[in-house]
Symmetry: C2
Subunit: 183 residues, 2 copies
């Protein structure tokens, strides 16, 4: 079966700081033409960081796209597509939370929503945390609050709808799974 959609033309509609919006005319496998709206993105890394007393490190920030304060696992953009995912995860944990971690494990990676964007996210688990004495400075236009929540507290934020983005919901179910395994 032929699936490929061939590019007839590609137009950059807007070249932003975080995203580039592109509209493509494509030839479908059935021979017809269609348009595809595509959001180009450099990719990102996120961190599921557990403290020694089994709390999850989270950050609270305003997300303009959903007009809501959102509690999420620490994450940030790659400098460019070639940047190492774990390096980005380490940098973001330190920048956003002031923590460094000695133990790092790759957990998973996924395209956020490939129907319209190439954003690819890598998720790492970090433990054996220490507080950096001279942490990397935060990004200038980010207002971030650090939270460390127990399992029940984190699920309570989920129930309230304040912790509800894909990577952080994944983190909660992953945490649930770790606890099932430990039983």
């Amino acid at each position: 079966m032929d699936f490929e959609e061939k590019t007839i033309s590609s137009e950059v509609i807007y070249n932003g700081k975080v995203t580039k919006y592109v509209v493509e005319d494509v030839r479908l496998p059935n021979g017809k033409e269609s348009k595809r709206e595509i959001v180009r993105h450099a990719g990102a890394s996120a961190v599921i960081a557990f403290t020694e007393d089994d709390k999850l490190i989270l950050v609270k920030q305003y997300r303009k796209a959903i007009e809501q304060v959102s509690i999420e696992i620490p994450a940030g953009l790659k400098d460019n597509e070639d940047t190492d995912g774990m390096m980005t995860a380490k940098r973001e944990l330190e920048e956003e939370t002031g923590y460094r971690a000695k133990e790092w494990i790759f957990v998973t990676s996924f395209y956020s929503t490939p129907g319209f964007t190439d954003e690819f996210l890598e998720i790492y688990e970090a433990s054996d945390l220490t507080i950096a004495e001279d942490p990397l400075p935060k990004d200038e236009d980010e207002t971030i609050e650090l939270l460390t929540l127990t399992y029940d507290e984190a699920w309570a934020e989920y129930e309230k709808g304040t912790l509800r983005d894909s990577k952080s919901v994944f983190a909660l179910f992953y945490w649930k799974m770790l606890r099932l395994k430990a039983e």
Copy 2:
């Protein structure tokens, strides 16, 4: 702590079929101005559908944004923001796979990537499947192949990188968790 970013102005850059690209000038909590790139989206529903012999229903399709054939759980856009999520899930399962299900459970919901889009996804679990005699027709510009994979086969596609979008990776970890619970 004040988190809110107030809208100074909002400009629709492109009004597409699936997405609307908007650029906003915002006032940050620290008083400075910044720009936010936002992709408006009607939201979607997805289905984790298990057959009687414990296989997962998946669909294979081309995703232009990542220039790759992608194996995903069935999903589709809401007609509009007010459409019921479970109704959308039922319609998409039937349209994309020809299956109907008698048992439906809400599993989770999340913003795909709230750093730049308001896309909200609801995920349902469906079981007790029957093949619809007169299924809803597929969308005209979708070329879709139906797959039913065992647990090991689905993880093999994950390892190959062909099953790697947020909702489907979530589905695999969710499946792993169901199996741990059943042990």
